[in-house]
Symmetry: none
């Protein structure tokens, strides 16, 4: 029936349909190609100058055809009665709303060139054109950006894969949007690109697959944070967006062979020196306990400190933090069962199964008083947001030390020791310490500073983004949204915002758990609505400052808390945005 | 001499002085009236229309005169050499703080009508207008009620005399508040209804003797601090120099009759509701426990906040803090013995024996979790630096809540209750809370803020003093000395100093106890030696900032932490000194 209808069309109609077909790649219509081989587009490779003119002609023809064809396709859809769901590959995403979902993005298109991830990454700004990938498709979406109903958010995927976004924002997974997307297709993603180098035999050979939305601060070890806008949207950070902070290659652990060794190394603990081994099942059999806790990297917001003077460390933005529920057994319960009594001069040394090239494990320690404190909520956790820990987050067992710097929340736990000394590891002794702004590498003495444990109060603006253009009517309000957190279980009491350098402060509304102070380990999300009048400058700077339950407040500038490792950059968070009225 | 000088003045000068005299009512200058009867103001009663014009003229004259006269009075103070303290009715008020106190309320104003007590009683609600009397003045304070820093308490005096209240809350007896009150004056109290305010039998008749080195911020109640230089010299502040912060008259307690009532008001405490009485000997028989703890007033350094914008509260310098050893019994031990179990949703309500005019005691509360925490070190203390508590410091028993704002360290303990609610006292609910810098008296809602418990990190320079001239040889060192402290048992890790606005920071040497973090309740004294070279400006500004064990740091300026009650002024401490080389 369709073929008959097609043959009745004039040549111009046929060419439009063909061009649409080229773009839409409706498999069921592939007979068109056999009918109209003369419309095949020339290859972009090895194009001779003489061919350029005809290439332009064909391109224009294709464009017009695409428009006409698309209109026709939309209009005649029911007539065509193509069962798109038959084309779908098996996908866990295909809920009932996806029954009619086309799947062009899952197949390479032989008529288009092949690109590598690096090519896509090189197109992440309007100036250089904005490319994205979805499945194996490569798309130039530059012209679409202004029309995106979700606004600037589309730029989160610029130069990378949009699959993770669409996995969350499933409203994209419908016929209309997939069809629209295919209009912007310019190529195919190179199949071998996913494994870019030969990792066979290297310690990095078995790194887990990461969510492409995470922006790496380093690849090996893998360290990455989610975009701030996304981070600020979820009180419980989805596991796949949770920042990853690895110091070494991710170890491969089999739950059947897994053993956790717990050693009592001093009788000052109130019990005999001893070593005990726990299988994963031993752990799972103990009472399960759940706590909500934000974990933050000591280097979160380090990139701001670099603006004062260079520092050594990964250049984190404000996304090296996440908030989750953690479930497991209480370290307190395990130690009490072994006979340990509180002693505030002792330490709990934690070791991971991740090894450095000299086979030394990652290590850290916390005071025994934190571990033994009933309100300290230190866990040996095996679940994160009700899911088993992923490999990147410490499978099968991770120490969760609520209110304490991320570095002490040791992953892939292999050994715990109650000891008279702190961990001797590099990360406890010569890293994660803070010095005066006038201490530099020629004068620093790491043995003179205290290892970071509880974190200071901080906050960050997640929306709008730095440099964003925000449309606000005269006498309308600018909505600002972000997170705030303090260490040591201190609840956030207030977040103040200003757009006039502190002349006026606006108090944000808080979204937080109602837990007692001293045990408030979750972060708080906050939203403020700031009135924008006519006289507001076109570019404004927004400052955010949080106050915790000890009424500690963020320092005003990073300059006066600068330190050579660039840690604890908790000054007011400041971003500039353009107001369009 | 004064009369001679007065007579040499031109008429215009005389009239100005006269008008000032009318307003300031300096008794010793009452000869002026006899010299210049022609300036006597006309009565407002039975004023004939023809006299109105001249009344306006005289009023304007009086106004201008008041201004000129006051300036002259300020300027010529030493020339006049008037012994103002002789004018004071009560000799105990003879400190310089009250020298300029006006006394309009002690004189009838002939321009205003006379009312009887019954008239005043008929105005005790907002609907009928709220009148009060003070001395012989009748005032309509309806418009002021919403602005009263003490909140709803002002309504206790509605329709009656406020003299007994102000006898207790003597912070009202200053020039600023008396001037404000006079603005609301509407009449005079009929002479036979006057309230007597003589000290005989007054609550202030038995105040203890204080060390003259203490500088009073107010006399009634007595609030005073030692000079900073002296304060910084002793790791353990000598008892007689320890700042005094009283909210009410000091009660007279006899150790033989003394009883402490402890009430369990909820079965959520893990035990039955009950009330138990303890004599002083009962307390002394329990195990004695000693802890070093600094206590700091929430208003310490308030005077710095006033430089930004006026605040309501006693004008403390940086001396409203002291460090001492405290001995007594652990509140935890007492509560455990009564069967109380930890419950972090409960509170411990503390009441003193000091009473307000309505016989309500001073009160405050702390979380039960702080009281029950073995590391919280909350004491019912009877000794301060190995001496029995003095009357000003809470004899015979005071609650010591280490790491917590002074206001919760309730003195003259009379009652302790384990309760489901915080203390309902004014000082817990409507005072000692912090708001955003843009919250003022017209927008404040005390129920929305959390009562201060643990204090934020702070420091102060004790030596040199503000404005001091310091002799230092070229290429010598400036020695700077002071204290630093943080609440919640957080140890001070570092104190940094700068004399070049933060370009260079000098790390101070710390003198502190070696106690574990989380239980480090004593302050730290510190000393820094800052090199002074030839090019240092003659006047330098020294900044001090401290860092605590959660790496919280002081905020840079008071402007951005300003709050209407002027509490927790913990910005960098900044002083200017002159260097003489």
């Amino acid at each position: 029936m369709l073929r008959t209808w097609f043959q009745t069309l004039p040549t111009r109609g046929k060419s439009s349909i063909y061009a649409s077909y080229r773009i839409l790649r409706l498999r069921r219509l592939n007979f068109i190609q056999s009918y109209l081989p003369q419309y095949r587009l020339v290859s972009t490779q090895n194009t001779k100058p003489a061919e350029k003119k005809s290439r332009v002609f064909y391109a224009l023809l294709a464009l017009g055809g695409a428009v006409a064809g698309f209109a026709l396709y939309e209009h005649k859809y029911k007539l065509f009665n193509v069962k798109f769901n038959e084309i779908n590959t098996t996908s866990e995403l295909n809920s009932e709303v996806n029954d009619e979902k086309p799947s062009w993005h899952t197949k390479p298109r032989p008529d288009l060139p092949t690109y590598k991830t690096i090519d896509v990454q090189n197109h992440s700004t309007i100036e250089n054109r904005v490319w994205v990938t979805y499945g194996v498709g490569v798309y130039d979406i530059t012209e679409f950006i202004a029309k995106h109903p979700g606004g600037e958010k589309i730029m989160l995927g610029a130069g990378s894969a949009i699959d993770p976004f669409w996995a969350i924002y499933q409203q994209h997974n419908n016929k209309e949007i997939l069809t629209l997307l295919e209009l912007y297709r310019i190529g195919n993603l190179s199949p071998e690109d996913e494994v870019s180098t030969n990792d066979m035999g290297s310690p990095w050979a078995n790194e887990p697959k990461r969510h492409p939305i995470l922006k790496p601060a380093s690849i090996r070890p893998f360290n990455a944070e989610p975009p701030l806008k996304l981070l600020g949207e979820h009180f419980f950070t989805p596991n796949e967006f949770f920042y990853i902070r690895n110091h070494l290659p991710v170890p491969i652990l089999d739950i059947k062979d897994y053993e956790l060794e717990i050693a009592i190394e001093t009788t000052k603990s109130g019990t005999a020196e001893q070593v005990k081994s726990f299988t994963f099942n031993d752990i799972k059999r103990m009472p399960k306990y759940t706590v909500t806790a934000a974990i933050m990297c000591g280097g979160n917001r380090r990139s701001e400190m670099t603006t004062v003077k260079s520092v050594k460390g990964l250049s984190w933005n404000a996304g090296a933090v996440g908030n989750a529920t953690w479930s497991g057994v209480r370290l307190r319960d395990v130690l009490l069962e072994m006979g340990v009594k509180p002693n505030e001069n002792l330490h709990v040394v934690l070791e991971g199964a991740d090894l450095d090239p000299t086979s030394h494990p990652y290590g850290a320690s916390i005071p025994l008083s934190k571990a033994m404190d009933e309100r300290g909520d230190v866990l040996l956790a095996y679940e994160m947001n009700d899911q088993p820990l992923s490999r990147d987050h410490g499978f099968p067992l991770r120490c969760i030390v609520p209110g304490t710097v991320g570095a002490r929340n040791v992953k892939w736990l292999s050994r715990i020791a109650v000891s008279e000394s702190e961990s001797s590891s590099h990360w406890q002794q010569n890293d994660y310490k803070v010095f005066s702004p006038s201490t530099d590498w020629d004068t620093v003495d790491f043995s003179k500073a205290h290892a970071i444990q509880a974190m200071p109060v901080t906050s960050a603006i997640c929306t709008p983004a730095e440099g964003e253009e925000v449309k606000i009517p005269v006498n309308g309000c600018l909505t600002v949204q972000g997170y705030a957190w303090s260490g040591g279980g201190r609840r956030i009491l207030r977040v103040d915002l200003t757009i006039d350098q502190g002349k006026t402060w606006h108090v944000a509304a808080l979204d937080q758990e109602d837990l007692p102070d001293g045990r408030h380990y979750a972060w708080s999300l906050w939203t403020a609505r700031i009135p924008i009048d006519k006289i507001t400058a076109q570019e404004i700077e927004i400052w955010a400052k949080a106050v915790d339950s000890a009424y500690n407040v963020q320092p005003e500038t990073v300059a006066n808390i600068w330190n050579l490792r660039g840690v604890l950059a908790n000054a007011y968070h400041r971003i500039k945005v353009k107001i369009i009225q």
